[in-house]
């Protein structure tokens, strides 16, 4: 029980991950698959961000001159690295989504539908 309370952030992300993953491989609608992919990525982003949290610390922006003179109190500042990584990951996610949407438009142009079953049916003909 303690396990769950102390680490509930992991539980949340895993649940989100499962939702996304299920949508990616289980749904028959191509757009839903894409949405699943986004949920999956969000789950990972949450994991990273939650790893950066330190209780009782604030955002990683310091006063320049004060910092140069006195140094920075490490404990008071949140870990900036996951934020950096996730900025990158978000951008990558956007890029993939954009390309995927473009491809979906092409598919729609070709088959007039985005349901996998219907497309397969048309291909079968």
């Amino acid at each position: 029980m303690e396990l769950i309370v102390a680490k509930y952030n992991y539980w949340i992300y895993v649940v989100l991950m499962m939702v996304g993953f299920y949508a990616m491989i289980g749904k028959r609608n191509l757009v839903k698959k894409l949405i699943g992919m986004n949920i999956f990525q969000t789950a990972i982003i949450l994991l990273f961000i939650s790893a950066g949290v330190k209780h009782g610390s604030k955002i990683p922006i310091v006063d320049k001159y004060e910092a140069l003179e006195k140094g920075v109190d490490v404990a008071s500042i949140v870990n900036p690295l996951p934020h950096v990584l996730m900025l990158t990951a978000i951008v990558v996610g956007i890029a993939v989504t954009g390309v995927a949407l473009a491809i979906l438009l092409r598919i729609y142009r070709e088959y007039g539908t985005l349901e996998e079953d219907e497309i397969l049916e048309k291909l079968g003909k």
Binding site: V14, V19, V62, P80, L85, V92, V99
Partner: protein, 91 residues
């Protein structure tokens, strides 16, 4: 198919949860993630780059190489969308 997908995602989730057993608790200031690299960045970034926003400092300089490719990624995406969607025009 759907049942298979459900099982697959449940199994994946279970494995991931199993992996979290070793993890530090949420917000633990002593966790490896919060101590190893992070300490260095917090202590030295301002001094070494004169940028008070640590995220920007790390993003633009320490991990500038990453960021460069991040830009390339988004550039690629734009390019890919154009090349996928635009129809060939007669010159």
């Amino acid at each position: 198919m759907k049942a298979l997908a459900l099982v697959a995602s449940l199994v994946t989730g279970a494995i991931l949860l199993y992996g979290t057993m070793d993890f530090p608790a949420w917000g633990d200031p002593q966790s490896p993630a919060a101590t190893h690299l992070a300490t260095y960045f917090i202590e030295n970034a301002v001094e070494e780059t004169h940028v008070p926003n640590l995220v920007t400092a790390v993003l633009g300089d320490y991990r500038g190489y990453d960021t460069m490719f991040e830009t390339v990624v988004i550039y690629c995406a734009g390019l890919a969308v154009i090349s996928v969607l635009r129809r060939s025009r007669k010159p």
